[in-house]
């Protein structure tokens, strides 16, 4: 209403690209400021070891964030990612302990995660439920599966061959494989999201599903495959965690989905669909990770960490809301 009235003269408002880079520049500035402050506050912060640890800590989650961001852009959400990460981990682990080689076991774990995505996608597109409810049910069901598979006890996988453990623990010329995989996934999907026709359809569908339908885009297919993609990337993350920890716990990843959704939203994804960037989401999870690391180094009690992260989320979303209101008027 308001936008319509004065719309004619508002063409000089910042374009979404400029606004997007504004947000990303803002996040980088906040992260840098935090790093500088921390380097004075703690002698252990500005060390290669600490940075490597921080990067490692969000790399694997970062892979899941990529899938979640694309799903948020299409207008969906997946609360089951934490459970699916764990599921891929314990299923692959169990198959390995049953005698399968770890590579095949991992592949099956990832494919099983995709299958979970297919089932959720089916309920969303064919049955017509919404993503929130479907994935809420998925979260609980898949967690149940994890407990059933493991009978509730952690699997010890120290017998994994060194070649497989190297994925999670080894490095190439000093750069951990985990970080290489993470960067590859990010660069690939960031590029595809900006340039590929298939992922452009994700934006159209999330921005205005009806208009997309009227433009000949099969929106149900788009939503289905994005749901599958998100679960698949969660499966990949689960397998990497298995390799890194050499163990599989049936309670791993509880609450992870909230951290991941928070990161994507801090990075600019909208729960209404139609907007979001991979780079933003990665900066979002980097910010959360730097904050966690800082709190640890400052000897802040673990009990405070969740509260502080929640406040950051609320602050980021409020700033975003304010910026959007400014843009609209």
């Amino acid at each position: 209403m308001v936008a319509d009235t004065i719309g004619a003269s508002a063409t000089r408002a910042p374009s979404w690209r400029r606004l997007g880079s504004l947000r990303e520049a803002g996040l980088i500035a906040i992260i840098l400021a935090l790093c500088i402050a921390m380097s004075f506050a703690s002698p252990h912060f500005l060390t290669l070891g600490n940075f490597r640890a921080m990067l490692m800590s969000f790399s694997v989650e970062g892979i899941v964030v990529v899938g979640m961001t694309i799903l948020l852009i299409v207008g969906g959400i997946d609360l089951a990612v934490g459970s699916v990460v764990c599921f891929a981990m314990v299923l692959s682990g169990t198959l390995f302990l049953a005698g399968l080689d770890p590579w095949s076991a991992s592949l099956i774990g990832i494919l099983a995660s995709s299958l979970i995505g297919c089932i959720m996608g089916f309920f969303v597109t064919v049955v017509g439920l919404n993503h929130f409810i479907t994935s809420l049910a998925g979260m609980v069901i898949v967690r149940g599966l994890c407990l059933i598979i493991t009978k509730g006890t952690p699997l010890s996988l120290f017998t994994l061959p060194p070649a497989f453990k190297a994925i999670g623990q080894g490095s190439f010329h000093g750069v951990p494989y985990v970080i290489i995989i993470f960067v590859a996934v990010v660069v690939l999907f960031d590029f595809l999201l900006r340039r590929s026709t298939a992922l452009r359809k994700v934006f159209y569908t999330g921005s205005n599903e009806k208009a997309a339908l009227y433009s000949g885009i099969r929106t149900n297919q788009v939503k289905f495959w994005v749901t599958v993609l998100c679960s698949t990337l969660a499966g990949v993350a689960g397998v990497i965690y298995m390799s890194r920890f050499g163990a599989a716990t049936p309670t791993f990843g509880v609450g992870m989905e909230l951290n991941i959704i928070a990161a994507a939203v801090i990075g600019g994804a909208s729960l209404n669909g139609g907007s979001g960037t991979i780079l933003g989401a990665i900066l979002g999870i980097a910010l959360l990770s730097v904050v966690t690391s800082s709190l640890v180094l400052l000897n802040v009690s673990v009990y405070w960490q969740d509260m502080i992260k929640g406040c950051i989320l609320l602050g980021a979303v409020s700033i975003d809301h304010f910026l959007h209101k400014r843009k609209a008027s």
Partner: protein
Amino acid sequence: MSEPVLSIRNVTKHFGAVKALTNVSFGLERGEVHAICGENGAGKSTLMNIIAGVLQPDEGEILVDGEAVKIASPSVAQSLGLGLVHQEIALCPDATVAENIFMAATSRQRSFLMNYRKLEREAQKVMNRLAPIDVRRKVADLSISSQQLVEIAKALTLDCRVLIFDEPTAALTEAETRILFDIIRDLKANGISIIYISHRMAEIFSLCDRVTILRDGRYVCTENIAGVTPDDIVRRMVGREITQLYPSKQRDDEVSGETILSVRSLGDRDRFHDISIELNKGEILGIGGLIGSGRTEIAEGICSLRATTDGEVRLHGQVQTIKTYTDAVKAGIVYLSEDRKGSGVFLDLSIAQNISVLNLKALTGHMGLIDAAGEARLARDFAQRLNIRMGNIDTPVSSLSGGNQQKVAIAKQLAVQPKVILMDEPTRGIDVGAKSEIHLLLRDLARSGIGIIVISSELPELLGLCDRVLVIREGTIAGELSADEMSEEAVIRLASGVTSKEQTRLATDHAA
């Protein structure tokens, strides 16, 4: 002259750096119907939102019965007796009609529990003045025009002294419009003042006493309707001469016997049946009829947005096997939806991304990647051809005015080089200047050999723009009017099924 019921003095409103209203003043007399005219973006809605308490002015004052008031919220406006019928329907879709009608009243009532039986009885009484809609039905189940009537009924219960109607007839049928006009005249006779916003000159001239014109957020003038002509108003709204409201029609030497699209006995055994249409090269074919007569459904049937059971569609003489809308686009038939914001454009995506949506396949190079330079070129080409006024092609469509958004929606269809375009209400709710540009564009497209079908509820548009008009009634073609048979009366007669000329004349006189 007595004290005005409502006066606006030197009101200014900014949105960031943009001035939406500059020093606007006007007065509303008791019992008058006062039209507010201006192009989209002239500040009408901003002004009305200030009166209704939705927005706060930056400068200036508002006087009710000569006393300065501060309208801090819509509820304050209501307690002052100022009511607004929104242009965009603002109802709770999951509540019943009765609950919606008394939504405002319930928030003021004292008792703790709702008396539903009384609520429904009262609501039905109000509703019956407009249309026999069962107030126990859910709003979501009603058609758009019925929803608009509920919105009006809601305002009637408010006991207002000043009632603002913002484009109330945009979604109404002719018959409903007539009923609304009777009610407005009735309100006026009871001393209630009406502010009436509309783009339709015929309505303003049949209903209003005075008119205030705004341009670019500034007050232009207030005139007695009796002392001006529609041309005067349009001229002052746009600030330039619009010599001709509609482009010239097809010339005799442009008439070709070549048929582009032919539809034979199309039907879906539900909303429409026995539809046969021949669309010739070079002509603009109009489709008229009441809302709900099946016009939109027929267009959707032709391009397979809706399943059909009978009949066939031929393009240049060849039978098409079109099963989905994607097939239709591939064959060269595109449809422009009447609901621009709901299903026409992607508001938060950029102009370039909007224009390329139907054309993605052609813009996709190897490896499934979008040719970014090609996309930008396409967008710039069309922005220039259609004279889209914008910052640059990366700005979101939401920042454009209604008319320019519609141009983007049209550009999107043109980008696939269609053979036939079906346009459903191509100029609904957009300002006179943009409207006339779109009409010219459609004529150019027809000249260049693209088949154009225009569905419109606006009779002047249908008659002014189209070379031939088909009138739909109850899901089938009630009649065809050639250029020399076309008149408002003839269209209304066919659309409403009135056979006697006398009756029709009465009806049109009443409406005009």
